[in-house]
Subunit: 179 residues, 2 copies
DNA sequence: ACCTGAACACCGTTCAAGT
DNA sequence: ACCTGAACACCGTTCAAGT
């Protein structure tokens, strides 16, 4: 049977399933979104998902990548702004990732792909901060611990409920303290 | 039947079950420890646990409280030490809580008791730091954001693998930055 | 190649029944 | 009062069977 003539191609359907997963994971959380519920929302049988994705963690990693990439592509426009503006903007962008932060930490020890993604996320964020501080004349050795602190605080902001003013105050304090 | 003559009293058995839970939760993690496995280790039927604890989250909260309380009682001896020593010591104590940090964040939205415990933990930690900074002559308004940053970094240290030197460098940088 | 119904081994929890 | 065997409604995942 000529499956290439199917009204929906494989990558198209895969993308559609990913969209549904992204929506439900970010809205209800990973744990609260069962594969069955996800399948139902996508109008397929639960096991159909396993034709497109290895397992639920693979789905998680793809959702994380898609969201992060979307955020980072916008982030590049802010590279010339002061560190305070950058951090505030990152915190706001990653706000939508909030429901998945604790999930990543919980799943990382149980899933190699999630663990790799998590390590890469930290390395990437720290590298960004180190680069920004280096540009402002701080040596790499002195910048690295500060970059890790900034990443931890960013992660803290991501994983805890926090008003906009609190967030801005925190970031201002952090930036003042670090330079 | 005179149950009070039972060889093991209710609170004794409850404490024993809690010990088993503490051991398994801290060793294997909350998610990896099923109620059945826990029951097996304690040599009772799985549903017996529900006679002593409302549900699995209640067991988690009790384990958290026991571990935290043990840590904090030791902490009081360090109250006169410099902030750097204090923080380092806290980070080392809470190292054993590492496997449960992400669990607390993951369960908090789904369990009111866990959510309350988490809120109390943050409030308590921040109050400690604010008090320490106040003692060192920093106003409360200026201390609060710094205390929150310190708490976030502490939580970051708790939830991520980190060598002892890295941890000490981080804490030194943080303390230098905040005062 | 793509999709499904049925089944598997688990999970936390409940309930009726025992002592 | 304390404990259990059996059952419930779920979960993520697999497999044989369909087209």
């Amino acid at each position: 049977m000529a499956r290439t003539r199917s009204p929906v191609t494989y990558p198209e359907k895969r993308a559609r399933l990913l969209e549904v997963a992204q929506r439900l994971f970010l809205k209800d959380g990973y744990e609260a979104t069962s594969m069955s519920k996800l399948a139902e929302q996508a109008s397929v049988a639960p096991n159909t998902l396993y034709w497109y994705f290895a397992d639920k963690d693979a789905l998680l990693v793809e959702v994380l990548n898609a969201t992060l990439q979307r955020g980072m592509s916008e982030y590049l426009a802010y590279v010339e702004e002061p560190l305070e503006v950058q951090l505030g903007w990152l915190a706001r962008v990653f706000e939508e990732l909030r429901p998945l932060v604790s999930t990543v930490h919980a799943r990382a020890p149980l899933s190699a792909p999630v663990s790799v993604w998590h390590a890469n996320f930290h390395a990437f964020m720290e590298a960004q901060f180190v680069e920004q501080m280096r540009k402002r004349g701080i040596s790499v050795e002195r910048a690295r611990p500060s970059a890790r602190i900034a990443t931890f605080v960013l992660e803290g902001l991501m994983s805890h409920e926090c008003s906009a003013e609190e967030r801005d105050t925190l970031i201002r304090t952090l930036v003042n303290a670090l330079d």
